[in-house]
């Protein structure tokens, strides 16, 4: 082996180093793009603040746009739901889950998400997010949920 490396052409070593570094750079760039591409969808609401009477039922219109490079299929077991957090950031209540249907790349769909009724008087933060049933909320995996301030009088 030693003999072999000694006799190895310097020019060849240079070109191999160039090839290796070039392909490694390409791999690193594509890995970053692959891992940090938008996860799934953009969630937006038609309002930023809701004022409610205590015990009152309300809902928010939520628009979901598929910004991923994949269609969403029924088999993906995704739902959309609202969670209410207190001012200190603690989870207070969770609304009903609405199962998502098929959503093609780039298309959008509007859902009516009901607010949890168990919320008492005060000021809260409503986070509307996608949930992969039995696994995780997308916000917990780094996505941005739609946020609405809820004031219950």
């Amino acid at each position: 082996m030693e003999y072999h490396f000694r006799s190895f052409n310097r020019r060849a070593v240079g070109s191999y180093t160039f090839l290796l570094l070039g392909s490694l750079l390409l791999l690193v760039a594509s890995t970053i793009m692959y891992l940090y591409s938008p996860r799934f969808a953009k969630v937006s609401t038609d309002t930023t603040e809701i004022i409610l009477a205590r015990g009152g039922v309300s809902s928010v219109n939520v628009t979901l746009r598929n910004i991923n490079s994949l269609d969403l299929a029924l088999g993906d077991r995704m739902s959309i739901a609202a969670r209410v957090f207190g001012e200190a950031g603690a989870l207070i209540a969770e609304g009903p889950h609405i199962a998502l249907g098929r959503l093609a790349i780039g298309s959008k769909e509007t859902y009516r998400v009901e607010l949890p009724t168990s919320v008492k008087q005060g000021r809260f933060l409503l986070k509307i997010d996608i949930v992969k049933e039995g696994d995780h909320w997308f916000a917990d995996a780094g996505d941005w949920p739609a946020c609405v301030i809820v004031v219950v009088r």
Binding site: M1, H4, F5, F8, A12, S15, Y16, L19, L20, G22, S23, L24, L26, L27, A29, S30, T31, M33, Y34, L35, S37, N68, S69, L70, D71, A73, L74, G75, D76, R77, I105, K132, D135, H136, D140, A141
Partner: protein
Amino acid sequence: MLAELKQVFAYRDMLKTTVQKDLRARYKGSILGFLWTFLNPLLQLAVYNFVFKFIMRVQVPGYDYTVFLFVGLVPWMSFSASILMSNNAFVGNANLLKKVYFPRIVLPMSVVVSNLLNMTFAFIVVLPVIWLAGAPISEAYVALPFIFLVQALLMFGIGLLVASLFVFFRDLEHLLGIFMMIWMYLTPILYDSSFIKSSWYNLFKLNPMVPVITGYREILLFHRFPDITSLLYVLAFGLFISTVGYVAYSTLQRRFGEEL
């Protein structure tokens, strides 16, 4: 590298002959002969299907598990066989290497081509099964050649690396069997990617066979185009591993004669 490719092109008839020889030799002497190309994946499918569908009761929401398994198993079998067979590409042809001059890279290349041809034949069986199961032909089929290409590149890169190293490290044969078994279980062939917990998901995604298997399923079962960023990642991985394989081959090939 370009000079090597030019040489391979000049020796394309040899590549064709080696592939033909490999396809003929694979089932030479067996009664069923070429039929084993179709029977082999069908029998493996039957075994996995029995264990995972009927004993372990694995289910994939919304899809028939048998078809789901079949679409993942066929590309994996071709990939796995290609790497395991590439192992012996130089050592198994030692006599030829010592006597005749030809670009040696043709040997691992022929292993890849023959396994890709085998996969194509197996898909001839798979496709009618998929259509009968209710998944029609869609426009997403146009993406099939791209997945095919990235898989071929991956197979070639790993195969070339393994074939070159095996000349010097014969223990590789035993290690490779275990490695390929672990790799298979880390790839979503017997299960769906959605079974992986989110905390492990990014690590799981780095396996280059994940986008390949998922891509075939996206096209053939779910009638949608595969995720392009994931396939670009596999393409980049394939280019990188092919470069590593080529550098290893170019560095070590001068001593093949002594070792063989």
